[in-house]
Symmetry: none
Subunit: 199 residues, 4 copies
DNA sequence: GATGAATGAGTATTCATTCAT
DNA sequence: CATGAATGAATACTCATTCAT
């Protein structure tokens, strides 16, 4: 299919350096100048590829969201046995910790930015909407297969997302360095209570 | 000797304008100049009271955290009947929505800032530690009074906090404008599942 | 005669702190704010006593010059024997090293300032005029007493001053840390050549 | 590739304007803003070429010292006759008046700065070390050719430098506007006494 | 006699950006 | 494709100073 154009490579290179600078200096400290210095190129090169800084910000959130999305939820439809399939879902959800693939400073900075910037917010909404749908589908499937006993799959999906993001949030405001395995076990226990097996 | 000190009033006045500017322009856009313009005073006056912008940031997080703290959890120990006391706890927790008293942009910006700034992070840790202790105490009390049936009050307290923050987080990335009553009902339902009545 | 007024003490206190700040931060770095901080008083107090910073500068040069003057040349007229008296002069002159009583940074900064500020320059001119006269008087006396053989006492006095300031200047641009005794001996040797004994 | 570099020209242009501003406003008054205004360019352009003001100061001292050096002492080795050669040396030295090529305010301001700034001081030390060596070589040559009768050429060289700088210094603290010819004659007379002809 | 409030001009430097080469 | 020149607005902060108390 031929090599990627230089432009595409350069753009990605810029974005990944932008990302790194935010980690080190915060969103408010990430200037075109600093990114350029880190790349050892001229600042105007970044403008050459993105025109404005705002465009760079949008570029970054898109880049982030696409990598994030592709990492987080696999396709469960290939698993035949319904119990096994639901167990898989619980397992994956319990282990979701996006801070392993995405830097927290970057994530929450953009989240905060989303409050004032509709374009950014839209990316988040879309992402979580996708996640919610996937989860709701699995929950509904497990319910129809009489694996779990719940009322509203839609509401339950929201609950799971809240729990995922809540535990992520909480993790960074605790003094204790909680072990990941332990955290995952706790999560599963909660899941078991919220999604009781069918009897 | 000397002029009457307006320091206390002025400092608070500055902080509340700082807060407002963050809401409108984001943390990265909240400059001393803009705050001063909004206050209709000279920028150097802000420096006169805070010396550096960093000190202003610390001043603001302290101010925010103290108002936040005083708003969020009341004292339940005066309620005699244990069942009523636990119901009160559930009720309050279900309704905690700090975004009613604190702006989301400010909150998440500082949260993100806390990732790189230990002084800021400490404030968050202290706050949530306090909240966790209060909740754990209530849970333990309800357990000892045979109101609810759970294993570990400490872990349960963490779970509640995660749930609170998770639902707050999720609320801002949904397209639907969820009704607060409905949200509170959902929260209560989850609480009932996680804290089943003693039988 | 009563005690000094508080004002007089305060003024001197301010000037000596001004002097110290110049030593540490240079003339360009010596601000009212820094002086006040070092004194642990309010900046406006300095203005209260001196009205403007320019006045403080003039105050300092006056203070400096008066202490400098009183240190440098004693009265030789009490020495009876003419040879002994001239030897004394040579001895004193050889040992003049104002950098022992006055900081170099301060001295040369004010000297440079004198180039553009006539009021400052006047202080220097007056000081060196006084020194020149004293020296000329001693040279003329030694000549009249047939101790030394020179032509023009006025010119010779200038020569001595140039030599004093020249050696001081040179001392600070050499890498070698020249011993003061050695320097004084060299100076005396030069003096002997320039002021040969009468034969 | 890229735009033609104007760096060398621009840098020198900036330095010479810096120099001029120091003359008019003193070292303490020479701000980037004033230099830029005088050049009729934007202040940030100066930063573009020098990054910091400190770098500009170092740039200026280097520029000054190199022009100063190239002006002050010629090469005497081409003069065959030893007597003539020594006379030339005396002649040149008697006429050294750097204030003809370098502004006094600038010179003494940097000299004073050198007291606290080792990088600046080094430039002075290097310069005078070079001058001392040149003079010592000439003195030694004249001595070996039995032109003059002195003991230590090294010490004598220092003496000459002190005399040069001393007379320069003195010149600016006299009220009389001494005629340059006269001053040079006086200097020569002193030289004759300090470097008596061989008999 | 001394402090603290307040100002307004000025400091060096950073910023995003435009344009010529 | 990339650099360097140049700008103008903005940044946090310092400065000397005035005035009220």
């Amino acid at each position: 299919m031929g090599r990627k154009s230089k432009a595409k490579i350069r753009r990605q290179e810029i974005l990944s350096h932008f990302y790194e600078v935010i980690i080190e200096e915060g969103f408010e400290g990430a200037s075109i100048g600093k990114i350029a210095k880190r790349m050892e190129v001229n600042p105007s090169l970044l403008i050459h590829y993105f025109s404005t800084k705002d465009a760079m910000v949008i570029g970054l959130i898109d880049y982030i969201m696409s990598t994030y999305s592709s990492h987080i939820i696999p396709d469960f439809s290939s698993v035949e046995d319904p119990q096994e399939r639901w167990d898989d879902v619980v397992d994956v959800v319990s282990k979701i910790q996006w801070d392993l693939i995405m830097n927290k400073t970057v994530f929450y900075s953009f989240y905060a930015l989303g409050m004032r910037n509709p374009e950014i917010r839209m990316r988040f909404v879309d992402f979580y909407e996708g996640l919610r749908k996937t989860l709701a589908k699995e929950i509904a499937h497990a319910k129809s297969q009489k694996i779990i006993e719940i009322e509203d799959p839609e509401e339950s999906a929201k609950m799971i997302i809240s729990l995922i993001e809540g535990t992520n949030f909480y993790q960074h405001v605790t003094s204790e360095k909680s072990n990941r395995v332990e955290r995952s076990d706790m999560f599963k226990a909660v899941m078991r209570q919220l999604f009781p097996p069918f009897k």
